[in-house]
Subunit: 164 residues, 2 copies
Amino acid sequence: MTNPPESARVEQAVDLLRAAGERLTPARYAVLRVVDAADRSDEHLTAEDIGARVAELEPAVHRATVYRTLTSLVDTGVLSHVHLGGAATVYHLSAVPAQHHADHDTVHQPHGHHAHVQCHACGKVLDVAPEVFDDVAERLRADLGFVLDTGHAALLGTCQDCLT
Amino acid sequence: MTNPPESARVEQAVDLLRAAGERLTPARYAVLRVVDAADRSDEHLTAEDIGARVAELEPAVHRATVYRTLTSLVDTGVLSHVHLGGAATVYHLSAVPAQHHADHDTVHQPHGHHAHVQCHACGKVLDVAPEVFDDVAERLRADLGFVLDTGHAALLGTCQDCLT
DNA sequence: ATCGTTGCAAAGCATTTGCATGCCT
DNA sequence: AGGCATGCAAATGCTTTGCAACGAT
């Protein structure tokens, strides 16, 4: 029980970090654990959300450090971020090709790479299988020479619950 | 030459404004002209961009007023805004069902309603015909009950020029 | 021991708000 | 005339930065 697969994802992230010649610090470790936990509960945390949780885990870590850490982890490729509809940016562990996770709906796919749509009414973020955008991506490439980065930004709309 | 259809679009916007029982003030008029001009040159202006141009047109108008004006014009429905990939929000005249404009590429469509994709390398914003997202919209609705608001948020990718 | 990383605190920026005045209708 | 919109200025909130101290390797 107490040795959940979480460690696997975090460890993998740590390995990536080290492979990139980066140092592992308490701040970085805390950020990785927080993001991993959020990932596996399908939460989407912003920089400040992460800062808040890191503060609980490592009170000594300064907010500014969380921002710098997020930036460097994204640069390293350990984390990736998604720009949501409004303005917020949320973070994910980028590595890890999915493994467990009991899915609930069709277009939903376990972790790993995925696209996002956000409800502008309630703010909820839904994960979507990247293939849903394959046709659009193909058309944009053919017509405009534009290579779509599926999942780097979320589209807006209204979720089922908010359709009155 | 000098009596461009601009006035038509602005006038239409003004009518909408009045129909909504809102007042026409120098600040609002300036904002409308600026946004109209941007629209017809396919530019995508943020609140501060608009503020800067309004300052040239009406030096007396305060920045705070531009923000308040944009908000109220969007509420009224005269303007609509699009959330770009990064964080910025850009504005469009919402009415006006397109008219002139010599198009250059297939998926490009004159003004009116359209979707957007943004290059995260150069920041350029490309307008895309909303139909490009029809299939995605249909699938999201069918699978998740999510109603996509095409064109309220932009997707990210890399434009032809930036593909090295 | 070295050099990247952190803490701290202050600066930055875009955006918002309270309030009294002004002006559109 | 009446009430919404504006100017002004201060406050906000998130994020960034300079610099010296710290600590991971």
